[in-house]
């Protein structure tokens, strides 16, 4: 066993690429949601354009496109990285950064700052 493996408790098992793909896809899906939330707050015409359901309103478009972004990113990255070794700590840090931005973007006091002044 390599010294670094002993320290981290990691031993080579299966390629880490598919795991990195799943992680980063969750971060991308979350960030897309946040971007759509801020964009819809800033633009009334965009908000109306993603209100695919009268009952649900713009939340319908925001969540549908975030979920689409999540699964498409997972599929594409999963295919690209399926046999590759990707450092999981790096993938984890990228995901954490994407999630941090997503949390800020979906926090109501933040995105409401982008509302047009009345």
């Amino acid at each position: 066993m390599e010294a670094s493996e002993r320290e981290s408790g990691d031993m080579a098992t299966r390629p880490t690429g598919p795991v990195a793909a799943a992680l980063i896809a969750a971060g991308v899906g979350s960030l897309v949601l946040a971007i759509l939330v801020v964009w819809a707050e800033a633009s009334e015409s965009f908000k109306e354009s993603i209100a695919y359901s009268d009952d649900v309103g713009p939340l319908a478009g925001k969540t549908i496109w975030a979920v689409v972004a999540y699964f498409v990113t997972w599929l594409v990255l999963g295919l690209v990285l399926r046999r590759r070794e990707v450092p999981l700590k790096t993938a984890g840090l990228i995901t954490a950064a994407l999630l941090a931005l997503a949390f800020v973007g979906t926090f109501s006091p933040f995105f409401e700052m982008f509302a047009p002044s009345e």
């Binding site: 598919p18 979350s30 946040a34 649900v56």
Partner: protein, 170 residues
Amino acid sequence: MDLTSREFWALVHGIFLGGAFLVAFTGGLAGFYSLRPELLTEAGVGERMRRLQLGTAGMAVLMWLTVVVGTWVVYPWYREDVPESPRSTLLADASTEDWHKFGMEWKEHVAWIAPMLATAAAFIVFYYRADLIKNQTARRIAMALFVGAFAIAVVAGVLGALITKKAPVT
């Protein structure tokens, strides 16, 4: 002792799915925490993995169901454009409008992050299966995603309960 259809679905969203999700979280977290070579025999790993798979997959499925039911079934009643709807009731009074502007606006968006994190955690568990014990970095990342999904769900759940207390869907 009757429930209207709306009250029933609000109950499904907040209590039935939320309660089952708590059970799944507890099982999953215990499984993640103890999945360490120094704590388990080889036979113990197999038993622990079944519980972990059940807990993580169960939590992911429950989270997707919770946000879909919340957004597509309960939320339309909350935001109905009539004076009696919870949203109209909260916005009509300056002392309660923040329950919508801060609470509901945050909850309805941030909640959708939770199922994506829970699904990624479940994927890691199913991808490595018993080998997860050999990859402690993957175990720690999966556990962080799992706990993160739970924390988001707690925020959304608590806000939902408080908003319902102020202006229930009836």
